[in-house]
Amino acid sequence: MSTSDGKPIGKTDSAEFSKGPALADKVPPVGGLSQDEALKRADAAVEAVAKEFEGMLGEELDEIDVLMAAYKANPSQANLDPLFGRIHNLRGQGTTLGYPLITRIGTSFCRYIIDHEPSKQVKAALIEQHLQALRIVLKERTESDGDAVSKQVAEALEIAVDKELA
């Protein structure tokens, strides 16, 4: 099998191979923790960071509100990007730190921003509803240790985003 100029297909794709990093030389197979021990310690570490997260979440949402106010005053891409970045980060942290609904609401927000028709203006009201939902998650958790309302709100937001993207 050959191309029109007679060269064998694929045979021109030459490559040079070299040895990759030998991490095994630096990590003896014994002398450390078993997998179970390591994961138990890691879970405890995650729990400690999660407690800090709860304390900082309110401040984080305050800062996001400031970004939202800037976006409402001037709904430009330059003002949307930092807002997206902050909520995108929250989305990535939520579940790991014990807040799966933050991840869920963040995912709904990110989906709306990423998938919306570029020719259409992003609806500030829908973004604000997502921010309010994040507040509800925090409020519900700190005041009642439950999440029944937050779940309903998250579901409603997902439906609203579905409609917008349809």
Partner: protein, 172 residues
């Protein structure tokens, strides 16, 4: 079953790069819990490159989307810049983006592993062990790729032509 019964990570140096202070703290704490000896942190791709030059990590774990130099910029710079001291450093992309296009794009820039947020300690542990137990050779192609060999499967049923002249699967 892993041959690493009780892996001793104390000589391992890991650089964590993320613009979220929480993720930096979280991943660093997880790594320290595993017994990783030294963990350095940076909050952007550009800072990550500078820290990597000084720290010379064995593994970089980096976010994708950061304001001052992305994770993609970082892996590209580590693999291709003339002055890089970390051309062969293992690189784990840790991102909330899970689209296949992103996985493929980062693979084609030379990452070693891809992890999506939210991440759990066991996922990080599994990736670390995988990098240690299954090291991949590096390949430089005429098409400008430099990084870990992207072919992971060695299928005994493959009936097509070998695509490379120096195919290591034929020589080992």
């Amino acid at each position: 079953m892993s041959a690493l019964r009780k892996p001793d990570f104390r000589n391992l140096k890991v650089l964590v790069v993320d613009d979220s202070a929480f993720i930096l703290r979280l991943v660093s704490q997880i790594l320290k819990s595993f017994g990783v000896g030294t963990v350095a942190r940076a909050s952007s791709g550009n800072e990550g490159y500078e820290v990597a030059q000084q720290f010379e990590p064995d593994i970089v774990i980096s976010d994708w989307d950061m304001p001052d130099g992305t994770g993609i910029d970082l892996v590209r710079n580590l693999r291709s810049r003339e002055d890089s001291k970390c051309k062969y450093t293992s690189f784990i992309m840790l991102t909330a983006y899970a689209e296949i296009s992103r996985v493929l794009a980062s693979r084609d820039l030379g990452i070693s592993e891809f992890l999506t947020k939210p991440v759990s300690p066991s996922q990080i542990y599994t990736r670390l062990v995988s990098l240690i137990e299954h090291p991949r050779q590096f390949v430089a192609t005429e098409g400008d790729y430099f990084g870990p060999d992207r072919r992971r499967l060695e299928s005994s049923n493959y009936k097509g032509e070998d695509r490379r002249i120096e195919d290591p699967l034929l020589t080992v």
